[in-house]
C-alpha cells in the first residue's frame, strides 16, 4: 500500500480548508465523506478520503499550495492533461472532481487513489538483481511510451519547447528569491544558455518529475504515474536525465536499480535511439539546475522572516543545495573536459 501519514484529527492550520472541501464533496456526491489520512508528497497539500457510497475505494484530494516549490500551479490544466492521458491508455489517476477557489480559496483536484507500492531508491536497492533489471526495463519502457504520445493533442501548442523556455520558466524562481541566493545557480543558467546551441533535439511531452517517488507499482509493473504539474513540451532527454539525478558517472546507481550506463542503454533500446554521453550530461545539468531552483525556493520560503510555520524538510535544503551545486559543477567539468 502507498504510504500514509497523519490521523483523522489534528490537521492544524489547514483544518478549516480541508473541512470545507470535505463538506463540498459530500454534498456533491450526496454521501458521507471521511478524511482518513494525510497524503505523502511535498509539492502539494493532499488528503486521503473515503466515501460511504464507494466502499473499498479511496480518493486523493490535492490542493494547490500557497507557497510550493513551483511559482505557479494550474489544477485545471493538470486535470485536462490527466483526462487526455487516460484516454490514450496511460496509467494515471482519474479526475473525479475539479474545485475552484470559490469553494475554499484555492483550486483542488479529487483523484482516484491507485493502490500499489511506491518505491524509494533505498527500497529498490533491496530488490534482487533480476528484479532490479525488470523494474528498470519497465521504467524506461513507460517513459518512452509517454514520450511517443501525440503531445499536440495534450498540451498547449504555444509552449516554448526550447532550453531557453525552460531557463525562462525556472529563472523566474531565482529572480524571486528573497533571502537565499546562489551564485552557482546563476552561473549555471548562463552556462546552459551557452551550451544549449549544441543540444536542440526532439520535442515531446515531458513529465518533468519522472522518478520512483511518482510511480505506483504492482510487482514489476507500473500501474500509476503521478504528479503531472510540471509536465510540459520539451526534449525527452530531460526526463531521462531527471531519473539519473545524482548519478555523476557511468557506474553511479540510478534510483538504486542499475548503473547509469545500464540505465541509459535500456532507455536507448526502448526508445530506438542512441543517447550520446555528452547529450546526457547536458540534460543532467539542466535537470539538476531545475531541481536546484526549486530547492533554493523552498529554503528561501523556510527562512523568510514572519512566515507562520516552517517545514523542517525545507530547512534541510540548506544541505541539499550544496550537494546540488557540487553535482552541477562536477557535471559541467566533465562536459568541458570532453570538448
Amino acid at each position: 500500500m502507498r504510504t500514509e501519514t497523519g490521523s483523522a484529527t489534528g490537521w492544524g492550520v489547514e483544518s478549516s480548508l480541508i473541512e470545507r472541501i470535505r463538506t463540498h464533496i459530500a454534498a456533491h456526491w450526496g454521501a458521507d465523506v471521511r478524511i482518513v489520512g494525510r497524503a505523502p508528497g511535498h509539492s502539494h497539500d493532499g488528503w486521503i478520503m473515503t466515501c460511504a457510497d464507494r466502499p473499498g475505494q479511496r480518493f486523493l484530494v490535492r490542493t494547490e499550495p500557497r507557497d510550493g516549490p513551483f511559482l505557479t500551479y494550474d489544477a485545471i490544466r493538470e486535470a485536462e492533461l490527466l483526462g487526455g492521458l487516460a484516454r490514450l491508455g496511460l496509467p494515471v489517476p482519474h479526475v473525479l472532481m475539479v474545485g475552484g477557489p470559490e469553494i475554499c480559496g484555492v483550486r483542488f483536484l479529487v483523484l482516484d487513489w491507485i493502490d500499489g507500492v511506491v518505491h524509494t531508491p533505498h527500497s529498490a536497492a533491496c530488490l534482487g538483481g533480476a528484479e532490479r533489471i525488470a523494474y528498470a526495463t519497465e521504467f524506461v519502457q513507460t517513459l518512452t511510451r509517454l514520450h511517443r504520445l501525440p503531445w499536440t493533442d495534450l498540451l498547449d501548442r504555444g509552449q516554448d519547447p526550447s532550453v531557453s523556455g525552460l531557463l525562462r520558466q525556472f529563472g523566474r524562481t531565482l529572480d524571486q528569491l528573497v533571502v537565499v541566493s546562489s551564485v552557482v545557480l546563476d552561473y549555471v543558467r548562463v552556462w546552459l544558455q551557452q551550451a544549449a546551441v549544441a543540444h536542440s533535439g526532439e520535442v515531446a511531452l515531458v513529465h518533468g518529475d519522472f522518478r520512483l517517488g511518482n510511480l505506483v507499482w504492482r510487482d514489476a509493473r507500473i500501474v500509476g504515474i503521478l504528479d503531472w504539474e510540471t509536465a510540459r513540451v520539451g526534449d525527452p532527454l530531460f526526463d531521462l536525465a531527471w531519473s539519473c539525478m545524482g548519478a555523476t558517472s557511468g557506474e553511479s546507481p540510478v534510483m538504486g536499480l542499475v548503473s547509469r550506463d545500464e540505465f541509459v542503454a535500456l532507455y536507448a533500446r526502448a526508445a530506438g535511439r542512441d543517447v550520446a554521453v555528452r547529450d546526457l550530461i547536458f540534460w543532467q545539468v539542466a535537470a539538476a539546475w531545475v531541481r536546484g531552483c526549486t530547492e533554493a525556493r523552498l529554503l528561501d520560503l523556510s527562512v523568510t522572516p514572519d512566515r507562520p510555520e516552517t517545514d523542517a524538510r525545507d530547512l534541510s535544503w540548506e544541505f541539499g543545495l550544496y550537494r546540488t551545486e557540487h553535482e552541477l559543477l562536477s557535471l559541467i567539468d566533465q562536459y568541458e573536459q570532453g570538448r
Binding site: T5, S182, V190, Q193, F319, Y322, E325, S330
Partner: protein, 141 residues
C-alpha cells in the same frame, strides 16, 4: 568562565534530543523532530569551519566581481549590495543579453567563474557530508 565551543554545545543538544526527547515523542511529530535533530547534528561538526568557508566565499566573489568585463559591468548597478548579490546581478545581466556570451573577454571571465566555483564547491561539500539523518531522509525521496 570556560566557554564551550559552539560545535560541542550543539553535540550536547543533539544527544539530549536523541536520548531524552525523541523516545518520548509521538509518531506525528517524530519525523519533524528527526529532521531538526539532523540539521543540528549536521551543523555541529563544522560550525567553526563554516565561518571560514563564508569568508573564503566572499573572497572568491569579490575577486570575480573585480574582474568582471567592462561590457557587463556597464549595464548593471552593483554598488551598495553584498558582493554575492553583485556577482549574481552580473550573471543575470548576461542571461538577459546572451549575445555577449560569444565575446572573448566574457567567455574568459565565465571560465574563471567556473574554475573558482568548482574549487570552492569541492571544499564546501567536504564539510557538508550528510549525516545519518539526512542520508536516511534522502533515501526516501
Amino acid at each position: 568562565m570556560h566557554a564551550v565551543e559552539p560545535g560541542d554545545l550543539l553535540r550536547i543538544v543533539v544527544r539530549i534530543l536523541e536520548t531524552q526527547v525523541l523516545p518520548a515523542t509521538e509518531e506525528a511529530a517524530r519525523a519533524t523532530l528527526l529532521l531538526s535533530v539532523g540539521i543540528l547534528d549536521n551543523l555541529s561538526g563544522r560550525v567553526e569551519e563554516r565561518r571560514d568557508l563564508v569568508t573564503a566565499r566572499e573572497q572568491r566573489d569579490r575577486a570575480l566581481v573585480e574582474s568582471v568585463p567592462e561590457r557587463i559591468r556597464a549595464g548593471v548597478d552593483g554598488a551598495g549590495v553584498p558582493v554575492n548579490r553583485a556577482l549574481s546581478r552580473y550573471l543575470r545581466q548576461l542571461a538577459e543579453h546572451p549575445t555577449l556570451l560569444t565575446e572573448p573577454d566574457v567567455s574568459a571571465w565565465l571560465e574563471r567563474c567556473r574554475q573558482a566555483l568548482l574549487r570552492q564547491s569541492a571544499e564546501e561539500i567536504a564539510l557538508m557530508r550528510p549525516t545519518r539523518y539526512l542520508h536516511s531522509q534522502r533515501s526516501r525521496s
